[in-house]
């Protein structure tokens, strides 16, 4: 059996089910490249699970996953992943290949920024549109799909969660400051006032951790706010319900003139 087990958002984010399922496996792998869990490293994880764990790199899974599936055909193999398994889209091929060979697959869910963003900001999950990841400009061209998605969501009054690019193995993570710079560059090209200076923006850092930061302000001010270490994300709110306004003032220290900004 192949078990994909979520590690959630912080060091102790694995569920009781996940812990039990991992401990009962013959072999435990972990990947820590699809997201960043603050303060989590291999040694800490070994202590928490109480078992030996093998760290996989991206190429181990993407290019050489056959032996994992073969092992899973002979005994119980766990793959621990940050957040909720399969929210990062890279592991679905592993699941499909295992099922194709009639190897049972079990997915043990845990917390993810996708739902946690709602509790962290007080913005209602029903008012979010499509989520998107902002990647670094590649080959000199800006990732303008982010502009289109936010514009489309805003046109429907919907909030947008923008996840920010990370490349753990290369030691890179996109900060809110860098992200806002890219959004401003898009604005200067497209010019539809989507990422204007006074656009209400919520920056969030390390959601789920004890030192999480949530701050709402104008886009131009969010750029210079100190959010500390990774991971960072952005939310561009759409039309706000009055409870959401209250929540942003209370949870995200939004300026009192928030409604005028929105």
């Amino acid at each position: 059996m192949l078990k994909l087990i979520g590690l959630g958002l912080n060091v102790y984010g694995i569920t009781l089910e996940g812990l039990s399922e991992a401990r009962s496996c013959d072999k435990i792998y972990v990947e820590l490249y699809t997201s960043i869990i603050p303060n989590l490293n291999l040694d800490t994880l070994r202590q928490i699970i109480g078992r030996d764990i093998t760290l996989l790199k991206r190429r181990d899974i993407e290019e050489g996953s056959d032996y994992i599936i073969e092992e899973a055909g002979r005994y119980d193999v766990a793959l621990l992943t940050p957040g909720d398994p399969l929210v990062a889209t890279t592991h679905i091929s592993l699941v499909i290949e295992a099922r194709r060979r009639s190897i049972p697959v079990k997915i043990v869910h845990s917390s993810s920024i996708i739902s946690a963003i709602s509790g962290a900001t007080g913005l209602q999950i029903y008012n979010f549109g499509r989520v998107i990841t902002l990647t670094r400009a590649a080959g000199g061209s800006l990732p303008l799909s982010v502009y289109d998605v936010v514009e489309d969501n805003l046109g429907r009054g919907l909030h947008t969660l923008i996840l920010l690019d990370i490349d753990v193995e290369a030691g890179y993570w996109m900060s809110i400051s860098e992200a806002v710079g890219i959004l401003e560059a898009m604005e200067s090209i497209v010019g539809k006032n989507i990422f204007s200076n006074d656009r209400l923006t919520v920056g969030v850092a390390r959601i789920g951790s004890t030192d999480a930061v949530v701050k709402a302000d104008k886009l131009s001010k969010i750029k210079y706010y100190d959010f500390g270490g990774p991971p960072h994300s952005l939310v561009i709110p759409g039309r706000l319900h009055f409870m959401e306004v209250k929540a942003l003032i209370c949870l995200a220290d939004a300026p009192q003139d928030l409604l005028k900004i929105a």
Copy 2:
């Protein structure tokens, strides 16, 4: 301090952090009315947490929450909730009121159908549009906002997660069969071929539990499929990436002529 702690999707869905935070509280409350966790009842929860726990009804929180906040001002109080706290929108006022009185609030996230739906179906989280809840027809009028949201998402090629109404205290939960009946009734009125008989539909039941069911088929067939006990949800897929087609065939036993249906 007031701690909102998520119970996740199944009996052992609380995280290690949630367990530790709950155990360190002076008083522990739980509400079990915003969602249904299969096989979870108060006695089981007391055994898992190893502490006495007080069950709150809807009116205890919505009408009489003042004493909870007052207690949280004097000592550490936990409120356990199904799924990820604040995804159900009913508790945000508790958080705002506590913060207004300068009482610290801590949110301990856990898994939610909002992100788990992606792993359970293989449909990519980036391709989902707005989520919506289908409620029972009230006062003879159909909840046509569901029709509008699915139409809008489909027009953008996006998937729609439709949560189904529950009223735990009244012993009511909407089944996929009942939900499809309501969608068909809407179709007969609006007539834009959104909920037509051959619309590709994914029914999911008890996601996160060992006996979870995921089944993709035409709308008219999903209606008569046996999904077992609650909770149930629906997904109306939009444009499918070829990996999503493979996933639906593999994880949701979708008919091989899926692509023609889609």
